[in-house]
């Protein structure tokens, strides 16, 4: 039983990365009916921006220019990185998606993929291929809860991720901007006629998604303090899978599917040899999609005439 709960905690942490990234995919899809294939690499860029900000703040503190406690550095890192990374998202929207809004959807997928490659390569060219380690901002303390070992990092990551998801939910449900986003997701043709500034909404959606990806990147850096330029590929594609699995455009679905993917991966790795992890995880996804092709909360598709 403790074994189960131990892995449950790990899975929650692992799943919160997926869920935070999947939210970005799902939101952009909901608004533009397009997937932002550069999103995984925005996650990577967010992690690196977080690394830069954190290192800078730590250096300033140690030089005596600023007197900041570690927790404040972490909070500032998260806020500044969210802000900066949201600009990356807006640039991606402006360069790769706005010119292609009326083009076939696959073309926008290609520009997204290519922007992703540019971000990876740009990072590789700037910083080199070696992995860099994230500064240790949080002193790791381990709590023993009846045989289950929990670190304060894990608690912080899971709780803060869930809080962010709830905040996003409130934003989409309760604010005027959120209402505009939902309206765009509902009807893409009429809503602009009603005076909703679709370009601003699209930009904002990319910005919010990227800010969430930056948070995921920083949390990843805190939990596993190694960053490399290709970390976005594997996380990005898996989070994309989670976004689809949740039902495209559904925020709740993306969160749940992100956590589910985390659970599947962690528990498969616990029970079977870890080389089989991808095989079993993707087979489960394939099975789910075979029987429920529109994901958990998506709308079913039908090409047959139902007379």
């Amino acid at each position: 039983m403790t074994f189960f709960f131990q892995n449950l905690i790990n899975a929650l942490q692992w799943g919160s990365f997926y869920a935070l990234i999947a939210l970005g995919y799902s939101m952009v899809y909901g608004v533009l009916m397009l997937f932002n294939f550069a999103h995984g690499d925005i996650f990577m860029v967010g992690a690196y921006i977080g690394f830069g900000v954190a290192t800078g703040l730590v250096a300033l503190t140690s030089m005596g220019a600023l007197a900041l406690p570690n927790w404040l550095i972490l909070v500032l890192t998260i806020l500044i990185s969210m802000f900066l990374t949201s600009f990356v998202g807006m640039i991606v929207e402006r360069v790769g998606y706005r010119p292609l809004r009326d083009a076939p959807r696959a073309s926008a997928a290609i520009t997204g993929l290519m922007i992703g490659i540019i971000l990876e390569t740009g990072n590789l060219a700037l910083l080199g291929a070696q992995r860099i380690s994230f500064p240790a901002l949080v002193q790791s303390t381990t709590y023993n809860l009846g045989g289950v070992f929990v670190t304060n990092k894990k608690i912080m990551i899971v709780l803060f991720s869930i809080a962010l998801m709830y905040a996003l939910h409130l934003f989409v449900r309760k604010t005027r901007w959120g209402m505009a986003m939902r309206a765009m997701a509902f009807d893409y043709v009429v809503v602009p006629l009603l005076g909703v500034p679709i370009n601003n909404i699209a930009r904002m959606t990319f910005a919010i998604g990227s800010a969430l990806a930056a948070v995921a990147g920083i949390f990843f850096g805190v939990a596993y303090p190694v960053l490399d330029p290709y970390m976005g590929i594997i996380f990005g594609w898996k989070a994309f899978v989670a976004a689809i699995l949740g039902g495209r455009g559904s925020i709740l679905g993306a969160c749940l599917a992100g956590f589910l993917l985390g659970f599947i991966e962690i528990f498969v790795a616990m029970i079977f040899p870890s080389t089989l992890r991808d095989f079993i995880a993707y087979s489960i996804i394939l099975l789910i999609l075979t029987f429920r092709p529109h994901g958990f909360f998506g709308e079913p598709y039908s090409a047959r005439l139902s007379l």
Binding site: A106, S107, A108, A109, I115, L245, I285, L286, H294
Partner: protein, 430 residues
Amino acid sequence: MQINNSLSPEKKTFASRIRNSFAQLPLLAWLCGVLGAVLLERYLGDPLTELLGLPKIPALFGAVTILKKPQLIPGTVAFLFLIYAVPILVIPRLFGSILNRLVGRLFHLSPAMSVAIHLGLLYLILSLWADVSGYRLLTLKLTLIAIIVTLSLNVINGYMGEFSCSHPGFLALGAYTASVFTLFFFVDDKVFGAAFLPKFLGPFLFPIALILGGIVAAIGAIAIAIPSFRTRGDYLAIISLAFMFIVKSIIENLEFVRGPRGLSSQPNYVDLPTVFIWTVAAVWIINNFVRSTTGKALNAVRDDEMAADAMTVNTRRTKIVAFLFAAFWAGVAGGLFAHVLRYVNPGTFSIQKLAEVLAMVYFGGLNSVYGSIVGAVSLSLLGEALRPLEIFKWIIIPLLLILVMIFRPTGLIAFKDFDVMKLISPKEKS
């Protein structure tokens, strides 16, 4: 453009004049021009490189030399001009009218013979060009294989309008099946023991290995074709993506093909004629397929599945045929690929490969055989030519693709029929 020309024939722009001169010369004249250039390079290339102070004949049209050693740019440009530009521009002009009449005779005599002569000339050009260095030969082989892969993906993504991400998986299935077949039967190696059959049979039975690879890939494609009955678009993209990861993961876990370490020492069966014949066969068969009734049904399914269904198109049959057909050719290409490189590992067939193939399809143009050929050739050659830029290559090529997508969202040459008869027929003087 056409209306403009007919209204004011005296005001011809430079571009339209060039287009006209292209249109007036038969394909055979251009082939002869290129053949002249290649022959010139073969017999005069070495003395000319010495004269111009170049270390050796520029392998890929001088791109590498220009990027690496800027002081050699004048020499390289002069070489390219003398060897390539002059014969290609002069020979078609000089012999254009004679060749046009010859092509006319041939065309009326027997179109099949005319096609054979054109293909023979093309093969002669390629083999002479590739004869200069081993690097050229390898690049050429990989480019020809890329044409097969791109065409087969275009059947699904262009003609049928799905977004399939499974092609690396099909390639892997074909590559591994063909490799296991040849290694098991014709090679003494550590993995599968001594050769099972006499080795001299190998090159003759190699087509069977490729076809087996194609069939295994096609069987794998059933896993995607069946979900495609119920869903399409993004969900099918994910299903195909999952398929790709599953194939890679299965191969990584199969100990009898040495898991992640990969298979090596495949026999050297794939020479230039083999790749050329398979590529021509692939282009020919795929072109006939997409122009057939089933091919038209693919377009109908893409444009409106419900309407196609109502117009008695059997959408299920169409989808499954398209997937199996495309996967078969991808498998064949995978087998060729494995025997050209003579080493495969599961890591070859990953997301990077997918991005590469997708880029070729969408760069060249959807729904078009020309487009696939152009996309595969230009991106493979560009990838090789920009090699000296090292990592910045992966910034320039994506940027180029983004620009193409913004200005021509369906690719360079999209929605164009590949009509062989029109291609080889004599040109009318206008």
